[in-house]
Amino acid sequence: MSTLLLSDVLVSAHAALPAHPLLLADGVIDFNTSRLFSSFWSLTVDGLTYGAIYALIAVGYTLVYGVLRLINFAHSEIFMLGMFGQYAVLWGLGFTPQGDVYTQGTVLTVLYLLIAMIGGMAVSGGAAVGLERVAYRPLRKRGAPSLTFLITAIGASFVLQEFVHFVLPKLTGGNFGGTTAQQPIRLVQEVTVFSFGGADVSNVDIVIVIAALALAFLVDRFVNATKFGRGIRAVAQDPVTATLMGVSRERVIMQTFLLGGVLAGAAAMLYSLKIPNGIIYSGGFILGIKAFAAAVLGGIGNLRGALLGGLLLGVMELYGQALFGTEWRDVVAFVILVLVLLFRPTGILGESLGRARA
């Protein structure tokens, strides 16, 4: 019912737009439907690719929220550290940054990418657990109000960014971090594998979408079908009872941060595959906000919601850009968020980490 209402609103919004000649005449907002239709499939492919990355990061927000009712705003920086982690691993393997793509042959390339991914996962996972220890656990021990956690999260985000901005280059002789992006190490040349409906699907797109879906599936299984996952769900549902039943809350919290961090690390490697020149101290911020929006869109606290929200947001903001003009990207993303929350305040799939089948 509510989705029906939503589409009604969207349709009437479309119909209403040309009625504002001021906006259109000034060229502030385009309304270019032919552009949307002509490049629909290309936008869909790109949107799914970025959406898959949003989704992986969104899982980190959703898991921590599900267990702690905390928005971990430093999660975007965990992702950023993952980008540096996978870069450092490639560097450690002997790759030096250069303009061209390395040609290592299929097997070796896959191997190096897997090692880089594990490196990114390790750095992000470690950083997430460390963050939890240093920033959140002491607050929890003292029973701080939830607002304190939020401020701490924002503070931790700045600390991590500025660490990479100013301290890391001093520690590493200027090789890592600093004000400019890392000179890229490219292992894979993005080439079109097949086309359909005018859309070129590249090898990188395929890898990102499949790897992200696979990881999302894996996490879903982990949370819903293992002993660890049962612990996470138990704590999310009722921390007091879970503790009485012998579940260690602290351990579950640590596992949750680790899981979210590891996924962010994987997302970091996939993102660097698509955008090799995006490894910079500020590179996590916008993605983090988008992933958070995706998590809320799908229903924060809900794993499958994060996946759905990520993919949806990725696709929608590209459609929006084609329709209204490229500068409206973030506006479109957040207007969609607002519209969905108007009709489904808990997101599309609702909050359900705790309420999932036990």
């Binding site: 936008l43 790109d46 250069q98 303009g99 400019t180 079908a225 595959l273 020149n277 490229t326």
Partner: protein, 413 residues
Amino acid sequence: MRRSLPTAAVAVAMASALLVSGCASKGDSGGGGGGSTSGSSASSSDLSIQPVVQIDESGKEVPAADASNAADPAGDGKAKCASTTTIAMAGALTGPNAALGINILDGAKVAVDAHNKANADCQVQLKGYDTEGDPQKATQVAPTIVANKNVIGLLGPAFSGETAAVGDIFHQANLLSLTASATNVDLTKNGWTNFFRGLANDGVQGPAVAHYLVDTKKFTKVCVIQDDSDYGVGLAKAVTSALGSAADKDCAASVKTGDKDFSATVQIVKDAGADAVFYAGYYAEASPFVSQLRSSGVDATFVSADGTNDPEFVKQAGSSSKDALLSCPCGPAPDQFATDYKSTNDGRTPGVYSVEGYDLATIMLKGIDSGITDRAKLVDYVKNYSGDGLARHYQWSSTGELSSALIWIYQVK
């Protein structure tokens, strides 16, 4: 055991996905061994930003200044001056934008060293004042420059924002302010009689590049993409209007500073089938943008301006930056200057505005050598100056703009 089936399924899926990527990259595989063997084609590591042609505001070619006519800071070697005589330089020497300030200071150092070596009786000091490129910091630094009685002239301030903030302070002190890099058009409209700009302003660059693209390159369809900075918006406006009918409104687009993902913009450019893409913005966004254009199969010429004219652009965009055209009001460094610069500055190579720093410092040194000892006379000296430098001919109009403002077109190759 319960968990092993999905785990295995996922492992297989991921491995096959990665295989797809590997297969595609196999194309020209040299079957390299360890990661340490640098790729089989190291061509793009040789890429750099090379000067192509100097143009005027209407896009017509202007022969480059003959470096052999350039004023020589060494002079006749008989100059006499007080050993406390100091030239100040103000600009970002630390912080995120330090590279440009250091380029200018290093360029000036080459001139001062050459001067002091030749003139035993006139040892001029060069003192750098760090503003971090921040207008607020500059307002704290400016009074200390004015208060230093040994400072006879100022090379700077380096950036437009800080110049706007402190220009009045130097004007009141009637201290020569000779900038090597502040290009905002409005700076010379303040009535500062002590302020001179050693290069073309932003109002020249846009039309010059646009006319060059239409008249010389014969491009008939150009997509103008702008970022959301004052610089990008202003430049895009100037370029679009000078391009006239060659600017395709349907593929004009705006991006945001800090963006790394440009898929919708790339798609628009791709659908338009344009001859060229003009990007009005900085290298941090230009590098991923040009990479994504190339990997989507768009081979339109990539054109951008001084915000992108930075070695960092080539480093980050790699082989996709090849053949990109980059304009700049800054002049290229002649070979001899580059050699001297390297030996003076610990092996660093000249960058954007290094030549301007050298030329403008040379003009001040010539003033000092002519016997000038006070600030007001040095301002008059520059006002009436006419002579060649390494980069161009220097002669100023009454407002402090160069009488002939020229732009250089560079190409990544």
